[in-house]
Symmetry: C2
Subunit: 158 residues, 2 copies
Amino acid sequence: MNDPIDNILQQWNQTKPELDCSAMGIVGRLLLVNINWKKKIEHVLTDKELSFIEFDILATLRRNQIPLTPTELYQTLMLSSGAMSTRIETLVQRGFIERVASEKDRRSCKVKLTPQGIKAIDIVLDAHVKNMSGMLNGLDGGEQKQLAGLLKKVLLSD
Amino acid sequence: MNDPIDNILQQWNQTKPELDCSAMGIVGRLLLVNINWKKKIEHVLTDKELSFIEFDILATLRRNQIPLTPTELYQTLMLSSGAMSTRIETLVQRGFIERVASEKDRRSCKVKLTPQGIKAIDIVLDAHVKNMSGMLNGLDGGEQKQLAGLLKKVLLSD
DNA sequence: TATTGTTATACTCTATAACTATA
DNA sequence: TATAGTTATAGAGTATAACAATA
């Protein structure tokens, strides 16, 4: 059975037979799976009126249990400070988070989930986890473990 | 050995022990590998003054061997017609491609690589393939085949 | 002087829809 | 009427740098 990448590799093979496409077969497939999965994830999040990065901020706060500074957040989520400020502000205005002034350092603040924010992220998280399970339906349990292991190996080799 | 996702899963486990994180371990790792790999790919392409989508257009034309219409291009590359028009125009102005008027349908045209465009994409492609091979250094040959197979299975189950 | 966080600015990229020409 | 491709517009999102307050 052929997937979309098989067709691309076949075209390359006909055009440039000397080209070694083995790496392209892996990288191309991973990028394509990423596109498909991201669409499915965003579909669930949009349903709850959250962007991917907004979800990431709320989820990061939730699983850390303690409030984080804007600096910690933009470093964790690989965003500029300015972009993080904007995101924080819109989440504050929607009642999901609040800024708590620091007592030790008066330049700084902690970003904290509101009770409403906790409720919202818990609901979205539930839908998100179910959604991800569905995305993996094509693999059995053993294959899922295998895939996780291979991806982990790639991450650790970076 | 722990990767970044292990830490996230551990935090979730402490915060919400009832949450089944097995799917998150796979999806999270794939999204993270995608971020890392895309950065590396874009580093090589930027070096040659090409964006990812510009590279994709040139590569699509190269491996198809025959010129394609703008419509075929934006459908293949999942872009709007307007966005594709803009991309085509900048590539024309840089001498990589040209529009050839269709004889059969005077509304239409074919987008064709110039000799300079072919030379450019061939050089970039070479660097790109080498780059991708390097990205897979952490896996041996058997593991690479395994990963390709698992990703293919995911794509075919969508 | 350096750092925290915000604000102002400008830039890139896109989708949408209006538009032209042709089928 | 429908379609191919372009153009005009507006929106989302970002990084950068200037900025104010504090260390």
